[in-house]
Structures are given as C-alpha cells and as structure tokens.
C-alpha cells in the first residue's frame, strides 16, 4: 500500500508544461499592464473626475472585489455570448484578468492619490499647473511610489488566481497539468511539480517587480 512517487513520468511532457508556463507569464504581463491602465483611469476618475462618474466606478470596483474570480470568468465566457458578445477562451481569460486587476488597482491607486498631502496640491496650484498637470506630474508619481509594494503583491495574487482560467480551457500552466495527469495518471506528482513552478514564478515575479521599482523610483 506504499505509494512510490514517480516524477520521471512527467518528463515526456516538458513541452506541454513549457507552453503552459509561457501562456501564464504572458497572461500575467498583459493583464498587469491592462489592469494598471484601467486602475489609473478608474482612480483618476474617482478623485479628479466629474461627480457622476464616481458611483459608476465605485460600483465596478465593489462588484469585482466582492465576487469570486471564477464567477467573473464564467460570466464573461458563458454569460456574455448569451448577450451577443462571443469571446474565445484566450480572449475571455485575458479580459477577465484585466477587469479583475483593474478593480483592485483602482482602489490601491486611489488610496495612494488620497494620501498625497493637500499642501502639495496647493503648491502645484500655486505654480499655475492645471488639474491634469497636477494629476500627472505631482499626484500620480507620488501615489505610485507609495502604493507600489501593494500593487506588486496584488499582481502576484492575480497571477496565482489565473490558474482558474484552465476551467474554460485557456491553455495555461494549470491546463497543462490537467492535461498531463489525464494522460499519465500521476496526478499528485504533476500538481506538486506545477505548484512548485508557480512558486518559482511568484518568487521571480517578486524579484522582477522589485527591480522595476528600483529603476522607476530610484530613491525608494
């Protein structure tokens, strides 16, 4: 009844794993860029935008933050076609990720913007800067510097959460794991190895983000 772990049976499938790994990395990078863009726009709208926009952005943020990612994914992939918007697995996965990270980063960036001291806004106003100029040159850079660590950990959380996209057959790392274990019936070994790959990915992503942070914010 003793079970022998046999990792060698994974070897023939290395290319499947590699394919999944690359998909997950690309998915993370694209959704990071898209999500931060959405988040910046959302945060700017909430703090510097017209009043009527505020409740709309707030509703978006709260709905996303208070429902599971998998339900958002299913809604986009299964639900939207019923409303006439049909997306491929890959497109749905990317869209769901951007929408999800966008909501979290809206909140994070907004907190950063609100932490900018009022005196700095007045100083910038006194220098004849417009609202947009103040936002761009005084507020956003400071805000980003302040919230960069929070944003970085949210990116990692979202990356790990992306494992769920395998459930709509987007071909990420978890999809690769599911595929391999359905062939070699070594579920535990496969998932252990893939879990460790995710761990390495998380550690690498953290290092890369820290490096980027050091380049963008030399002082911090």
């Amino acid at each position: 009844m003793t079970y022998k772990l046999q990792f060698a049976e994974l070897l023939p499938y290395w290319d499947v794993l590699l394919h999944g790994l690359i998909f997950t990395i690309v998915l993370t990078i694209v959704s990071t860029i898209g999500g931060i863009a959405v988040g910046t726009a959302g945060a700017a709208a909430r703090t510097f935008g017209p009043k009527w926009l505020d409740p709309i952005v707030a509703a978006y943020v709260e709905i996303i933050r208070n429902t599971p990612f998998i339900v958002q994914l299913f809604f986009i992939f299964f639900g939207l076609p019923a409303a006439g918007v049909k997306l491929s697995e890959t497109a749905a996965a990317f869209l769901a990720m951007v929408v999800n990270l966008g909501a979290y980063s809206t909140e994070i960036i907004r907190a950063g913007i609100e932490a900018v001291p009022k005196g700095h806004l007045e100083a910038a106003e006194s220098l004849a800067m417009t609202r947009m100029q103040i936002l761009r040159h005084v507020v956003l850079k400071q805000a980003f510097q302040k919230i960069y660590p929070a944003l970085a950990s949210q990116i990692i959380i979202v990356m790990l959460g992306s494992a769920v996209v395998s459930q709509i057959s987007a071909e990420d790392l978890t999809y690769a794991a599911n595929y391999i274990q359905s062939r070699n019936f070594r579920a535990f070994e496969v998932y252990l190895v893939v879990a460790l790959l995710y761990l390495l990915l998380a550690i690498a992503a953290r290092a890369v983000l820290r490096g980027i942070g050091r380049v963008i914010f030399p002082k911090a």
Binding site: P117, H120, A123, E125, L127, M129, T130, F217
Partner: protein, 242 residues
C-alpha cells in the same frame, strides 16, 4: 499704480467672518510684512491673493488681473504670483532640481535647455547649487525651504507670497532662509510676507501691516511703527514678542 491692490476684502468660513474688509496697496518692489496674532486672518488673506481661497466681497487685483473675475481660470494669475509655504510642500518624489523645473516645463512649456538653466540659476540664488540632485528627504528643513523658494522663483513671478516660511524650522536654520529672502528684497522682488520675525520685518520690510481681528489695524513704514506704535494693540503685540 499698485502691483497688488486689495480693496475691502471680506471672507467668512461658515458663520465666522475671518476677513472684515481688508485693504492693502502693494507697489512694485515693496516688501510688505504682515504681522498679527494667530487667527487674525493673515494666512487667509495671503491665500486669497493667489486664489487658493475665494473671498466673498471686495476686490483683489494683481498686475491688472482681477482675482475675483478669473472664474476658476487662475493660470495667468499664478504665473505671476509665487507662493512659499510654512510646510515647504516640496514634491518628495522629485529631486531639488526637478522640483524647480517642473512648473516651467509643464506650465510654460519651456525647453529642457531653458528649464535646466533656470534650475541652475535659481538654486544658485538660494545657495544650493550642490544639492540639485538631492531628494527633499535628504535635505535639512532650511535647505528644503530654500528649494521651495527657488521653485517659486523659477516661474519668474512678479510678486512672491511667503506664509510664515521660517516657522517650521529649527532656530539655527531660520537665518539661512531669511538671508535668501533679504537678497530677493534687495534685488527688487515684490514680497508679501506673513512673519513672526519682528526684527526681520523691521529691517527688511518697506511696509508693515498689523492685522487684528480680521482687519488692518495699523500700517505704515516699519521702523517708526515699531518705535512708536499708534495703537495699544500693536504696542501689546510687539511687547509680547520679546
């Protein structure tokens, strides 16, 4: 003609009237020192001049621009009016030079070449040429405040407003900032300063304004006023400072 003209300005916060009809004329090259007790409305008045605060009645004009009629378009006004704050308010994510270059770059759209020259020139003027690449957190309070002055000067304002710019400083750092301001005064810059430095007000000011309970209680050339105050309130206020 006055550079800054303040006529019968009134301002309330809620039901409290903070400015109760203030009038001051400031000529080109004047150095106006505003003194008065805490809460007498000095900061509020200063902030009305560059539109950080709106006023309810009266009229303020700077170099022909009617502050009350700008309808939120304060750009031209603020190009002409610099301001230095008690708390410095330097932008912490920018170096000293970047703090100075920011407004010329984005507001006046000056070329990189010109903004660099401006930073060099204004930082030299405040004696901080060697700190151009330092971040605010790496500077002492006095140095930060001098950068803030350079930042305001880089817009080449016609008038500079200073609100208790030495009050947040350790005593030993006060004089380095005051020396810079004194230099500006002798170069002919028009200055309106709220200050608690009585000696500075007397020696550098060309005009003293004593605010009391939201009004200009007394004004005139500093030296005679300090020597013989015309009202018991000013006499008491000056007495209190020693």
């Amino acid at each position: 003609m006055s550079l800054v003209s303040i006529k019968d300005v009134r301002k309330s916060f809620g039901s409290v009237e903070v400015l109760k009809g203030v009038s001051i004329e400031v000529g080109r090259g004047d150095v106006v020192a505003i003194i008065g007790k805490s809460g007498s409305g000095k900061s509020t008045l200063l902030r009305c001049i560059n539109g950080l605060e709106t006023y309810d009645a009266g009229c303020i004009s700077v170099d022909g621009i009617d502050v009350g009629k700008t309808r939120g378009n304060l750009r031209d006004l603020r190009r002409n009016v610099g301001m230095v704050f008690q708390q410095f308010n330097l932008f912490p994510h920018l170096t000293a030079a970047e703090n100075v270059m920011l407004a010329p770059k984005v507001v006046n759209r000056e070329s990189a070449h010109i903004t660099k020259a401006l930073a060099k020139e204004t930082l030299a003027k405040v004696g901080l040429s060697d700190k151009a690449d330092s971040y605010p957190s790496q500077l002492s309070g006095g140095q930060q405040q001098r950068v803030a002055i350079a930042r305001a000067l880089a817009m080449r304002p016609n008038v500079l407003l200073c609100d208790e710019i030495t009050s947040a400083l350790d005593p030993e750092l006060v004089s380095e900032v005051l020396r810079v301001v004194e230099r500006l005064a002798s170069d002919g810059m028009t200055l309106i300063l709220v200050t608690h430095e009585m000696r500075f007000a007397r020696d550098v000011g060309t005009k003293l304004v004593f605010m009391h309970q939201g009004k200009v209680h007394e004004e005139g050339p500093p030296k005679p006023l300090f020597a013989s105050p015309g009202t018991p309130e000013l006499a008491q206020f000056i007495g209190m400072q020693h």
